[in-house]
């Protein structure tokens, strides 16, 4: 079952010469029980998508269904089942963390106090401090507690770990896995690719308001290309010969070591190496960041 489904969702700001197409005909499905990463550089349309899903802004065209409800017409009922952490969390600066939690809990209704205490303890959050005196990391923790407090069916998190130290990031990852294990879903926008790689099941890549691809994180890292590093006793004319092969590119030489990017099968490369004495051969899967850059570098074609 899809917990998020958008159909040609479009958001246009301004008009005429000042028109900006922030999101262009987005068709996206996020399934129940998955952690879904939403990737893209600044201005790609990530936050616009989130704001549309939460009915903070209204679509210029298209529609969105969240948890089976219309994101606009049934927003109040929908928000009972959603936890949201904005990218830039703003709260009442003169209130303490406890006062903010109380207000949000009262507005939500039915919040499990024991779970609330467990969350604040796990995230080591002091609630007796005024919001204006929280560090950016502690403010982020408070935002996470606000988003998680009602055990929502869907978590919508915009850059959730910015400002969190590595230990807290680890705890955050654990909480995300627990959420998934309970059959709940997470929609997570981030530019921290290792984080997305570590916790997400699927990822969508967005560019200039357009969806470039949606892929399993595991498959995304397997498809496309690999990096090959060779230690060869006598390089000679080998770099030139390899560069001429189909699927081989970006050949570089460093001392007696040779690095190249390989797309497709290994066989042509291995045949080209049969007259060389290969001391070492290392194959590296590209990081998500490299795949991400490849998408952008090639106009969306990896």
């Amino acid at each position: 079952m899809a917990v998020i489904e958008t159909r040609d969702l479009t958001k246009v700001y301004g008009s005429g010469r000042h028109e900006v197409r922030a999101l262009d005909q987005l068709n996206l499905q996020v399934q129940q029980g998955e952690i879904f990463g939403y990737l893209g550089p600044n201005g790609a349309g990530k936050t616009t998508t989130i704001r549309l899903l939460l009915d903070l802004i209204r679509p210029s065209a298209g529609s969105a269904t969240v948890l089976g409800m219309d994101a606009q017409a049934e927003s109040v009922a929908l928000h009972k089942r959603i936890g949201f952490l904005p990218g830039e969390l703003a709260l009442w600066k003169g209130q303490t963390g406890a006062q903010v939690l109380r207000l949000v809990a009262d507005l939500r209704g039915g919040v499990d106090e024991a779970y609330l205490r467990e969350l604040t303890e796990r995230l080591q959050l002091d609630l007796n401090i005024r919001v204006r005196n929280y560090s950016s990391g502690n403010r982020r923790k408070l935002g996470l507690v606000l988003a998680l407090m009602n055990k929502p069916d869907l978590l919508v998190l915009d850059e959730p770990t910015g400002g969190l130290d590595p230990l807290m990031q680890q705890i955050f990852h654990e909480i995300m896995f627990e959420t998934r294990d309970e059959g709940r879903s997470v929609f997570l926008s981030s530019h921290l690719l290792p984080e997305v790689q570590a916790i997400c099941d699927r990822v969508a890549i967005l560019r200039q308001g357009r969806l470039i691809t949606v892929e399993q994180v595991s498959r995304l890292t397997q498809v496309g290309f690999r990096w090959v590093r060779l230690q060869v006793r006598d390089l000679g004319a080998l770099p030139g010969r390899l560069e001429a092969l189909d699927g081989v590119s970006e050949v570089s030489v460093e001392d007696s070591s040779l690095r190249l990017r390989l797309s497709g099968d290994f066989d042509p490369l291995l045949r080209a190496l049969q007259d060389s004495y290969v001391e070492e051969l290392h194959v590296h899967e590209p990081t998500l960041e490299e795949i991400f850059l490849a998408y952008y570098g090639n106009g969306g074609e990896a």
Partner: protein
């Protein structure tokens, strides 16, 4: 309405409300303290009456006979200025309904909760209406305390009526500012328009009152200050006609604010 946001708003704003109340109560105390007896009142009015008649009309002191009564003097000395001050409070409260939190980004968090935009605006409006009422009541206490030091027999009901008459005009300013903020989104623009409305209305009434008759005088009827003061027998409540008009316009403006707020994008 569950009232959660209403109670939270009252909790968050009780302190500034007390400051406003104290300021207005001190004004009331001062206005009564300068007229301990009829002789002092006559002397004071004698000085005021030396001004040109159009200017007297403009500042609401045109009827010097009325001014020689303590109720008339309080209407001129307290209510006129208190209404101007409360109009500023109404403007600030109008911005607090949604514009300030939208500017700060807090509205993103609030509206991601199970809270409709309508409920947000209405609960906030009711909360600030109650706070306005509290300011009026506490400022009336200043008048009551001051009256104890005079030889005049002013009933508390008279003094409370004078203070409570300030509430409808304040609510109208609040609703106007909320409408400006809901329709125009930009905080600075809404603030500017609210200021122009408050000051513009004051000067419209000021200038129109200086002209005793004719179409220019009738222009003053566009000002909420006129409806907050015209036709009031000193020490009594607003005439029903004025009250209905002020509250009616307030409701129309509030409905307009709701209409815009429910249909537009938040933030950005």
């Amino acid at each position: 309405m569950s009232g959660v946001l209403l109670r939270a708003t009252l909790r968050q704003h009780w302190r500034p409300t007390l400051y406003w109340s104290a300021g207005l109560a001190l004004l009331g105390l001062y206005v009564i303290a300068v007229i301990p007896d009829q002789e002092a009142l006559d002397n004071y009015v004698g000085i005021v009456a030396s001004m040109p008649q159009p200017l007297l009309d403009a500042i609401g002191a045109g009827d010097t006979l009325l001014l020689r009564t303590p109720e008339g003097f309080i209407q001129y000395g307290f209510a006129t200025w208190a209404q101007l001050m409360l109009a500023v409070y109404g403007l600030l409260a109008g911005l607090n309904l949604c514009a300030n939190e939208e500017e700060a980004g807090i509205l993103d968090v609030l509206l991601s909760l199970p809270l409709s935009r309508r409920r947000l605006l209405l609960e906030r409006f009711v909360a600030f209406a109650l706070l306005t009422l509290l300011i009026a009541l506490l400022s009336a206490l200043g008048l009551v305390l001051g009256s104890g030091a005079t030889e005049f027999s002013l009933t508390p009901a008279t003094l409370f009526a004078t203070a409570l008459n300030l509430v409808p005009g304040t609510l109208l300013v609040m609703a106007f500012t909320a409408l400006a903020a809901a329709a125009l989104r930009r905080h600075m623009v809404a603030t500017g328009i609210g200021i122009v409305f408050v000051i513009g209305s004051y000067f419209l009434d000021f200038i129109a009152s200086a002209i005793s008759e004719g179409p220019l005088n009738q222009l003053g009827r566009l000002s909420f200050y006129r409806w907050s003061s015209e036709g009031i027998a000193p020490g009594s409540f607003l005439p029903a006609e004025n009250l209905i008009l002020l509250l009616g316009v307030t409701l129309v403006l509030l409905a307009g604010a709701l209409w815009f707020f429910e249909r537009r994008d938040i933030g950005l």
